[in-house]
Amino acid sequence: MTAAAKKRAVISSGRAERPRESFSPKKHWGKNLLVELGFLGIILLCFLTVKILPFLLSFGYAFTDWNGISSQISFTGVDNYVQMLADKDFWNSLWFTLRFCGCSILLTNVLGFFLAFCLNKPLRMRGILRAGFYIPNVLGGLVLGFIWQFIFTKVFPAIGKATGIGFFNLMWLGTPATSFWGLVMVDVWCSLGYYMLLYLAGLSAIPSDCLEAAHIDGAGGWQTLTKVTLPLLMPTITRCLFLSITSSFRVYTLNMSLTNGGPYLSSEAITMNIYRTAFTENQMGYGSAKSLVFMLIVVAITGIQVALTSRKEVSM
């Protein structure tokens, strides 16, 4: 933020909350339908069409046997859910996703905070380090997975041969365990930089007088961190956790391009399972039922997380 923008924000924050009685834009234009349409019409139409309508439709599809092509769609009640209960692949993929999300969320947030904490200190090469740690985040999609496929299957064995370090001689991507940790590693490597930036912003927003006060009161480094910094950082933590939960549950492209579910579907995440059911096996109805369960899980987990962490937020 530039100095001018900061000044503006300071000036404005006092006034915006107490609008004068005589004027508000709401009074002027609030009821004008044409203005409302002009401002909101197009984006709202798009939003309703591509997000809300499909969302509502998925409730309907989930109770049918629709195959995606035929116009003959029959209502099958809870058959899809009964089928799901016996679908071992689905439960395995759900369990895999939960484990993957747990590890990836924990590692990205802890390491992201650690990097931000270090790079918030007045280091000489701070700018370069920040930029450098962010760079992997510009990769995405298939490119990310394909690069690491090369590294795991070609480069790691070569390093292992040259140095004899056991870590590199593991059968990377060849066993369920190495596939799992390979995915976690690449995901963390890629997303770390973004969370580092978010935590850095949170840390730099903590007023230095709070930290000084803690120091004068005799708090050590660890005490300051746990008793002052972290509580004041709760809004950032809430946001970072929300973002990392929603993004790690959605892992699909990385999963597909790195392990493609292998070996033997052991590293198949839930989105990949849904994709396979719906678009490879053409069971759109059944796929919708699975998506619905998936969506409920994500909404429930993020809901619980936001409720828990935002309750811990303190005001300065």
Binding site: P25, W29, S58, I135, F294
Partner: protein
């Protein structure tokens, strides 16, 4: 600063600690960026070189991988297709996203409050959970199998984040500015574009950068929406068909990977200043 209160001995101790920390972080960074170097290095080798000498300098030094990758990806076409989708997606979200965020904040009618809550709540719905019906809906309204349609779908998909961020930024702008504009005879749209929008610059730049990476790197949505027509493939889709055709042919594949990630790296270097300082505009308020 905190250090001022400290005894000189602890101060120098702290300085040593800092230098060690800095060295540690540099080493960590070098390890973290190693994949890029290895990728670049091996993209100049032939299959023999990759098999025998994966960690060494390319010998012979081959540029032909790049020529083949360029051709196999139909690079210019894929590049412009991706660019088109990214530009269209961004244009819509910059224009309509910021307008909507402004309106929802400044005209808090019951309807608008519900709309805003709906937008917020929808952030928890993953794309993968609605993709099946989305295919049906978008083909019914004619958005599939075209780059323009894909761009427009991004407007709907990206709406919540952009509106959420602008909504927050508008909160901090005093009414006085709008009042002055109205007295000067500006209508609602002119007021927004002339007075408010320039003040939202940081926020708009923030989400536009994030969206650019998203649109550019997205794979699943283009794959579902664009179908099998190679003429409208984005870089990510061309990449997939190259890998299907050249499985384990790493010489061509690595060169292709390098030229596909090049645009994002260049974009990062150009927008670096905004990314490292500005990407977080919404982080504190959120």
């Amino acid at each position: 600063m905190i250090a001022v209160h400290r005894h000189p001995a602890t101060l120098s101790g702290q300085r040593h600690g800092r230098i060690l920390l800095e060295i540690g972080l540099c080493v960590l960074l070098l390890i973290g960026l190693l994949p890029f170097f290895i990728l670049l290095l091996n993209s100049f080798k032939d299959m023999m070189g990759i098999a025998k000498n994966i960690l060494g300098w390319p010998n012979p030094f081959k540029l032909s991988n790049y020529a083949r990758a360029f051709e196999k990806l139909s690079y210019p076409r894929s590049f412009f297709n991706t660019l088109l989708v990214t530009l269209l997606g961004n244009a819509g979200l910059i224009i309509f996203g910021s307008m909507a965020g402004y309106r929802l904040n400044r005209a808090p009618t019951v309807f608008n409050k519900i709309v805003y809550l709906l937008l917020l709540a929808s952030m928890a719905i993953p794309f993968e959970a609605v993709m099946i019906p989305l295919m049906k809906v978008s083909s019914a309204v004619g958005l599939t199998k075209s780059l323009g349609g894909l761009g427009i779908c991004y407007w709907g998909m990206g709406a919540s984040t952009c509106i959420f961020l602008t909504h927050g930024a508008v909160k901090g702008i005093p009414y006085d500015l709008e009042e002055a504009a109205i007295i000067d005879g500006c209508g609602p749209f002119k007021t927004f574009w002339r007075v408010i929008f320039p003040l939202l610059r940081t926020t708009v730049v923030t989400y536009t950068i994030l969206n650019t990476f998203w649109f550019w790197n997205d794979y699943l949505m283009p794959q579902l929406m664009l179908g099998g027509d190679k003429q409208i493939y984005t870089i990510q889709l061309s990449m997939r068909s190259l890998f299907l055709e050249y499985y384990a042919m790493w010489d061509v594949a690595l060169a292709a990977l390098v030229i596909s990630l090049l645009p994002t790296v260049i974009f990062f270097l150009i927008a670096q200043k905004y990314i490292l300082s500005g990407l977080t505009a919404g982080a504190i308020k959120g």
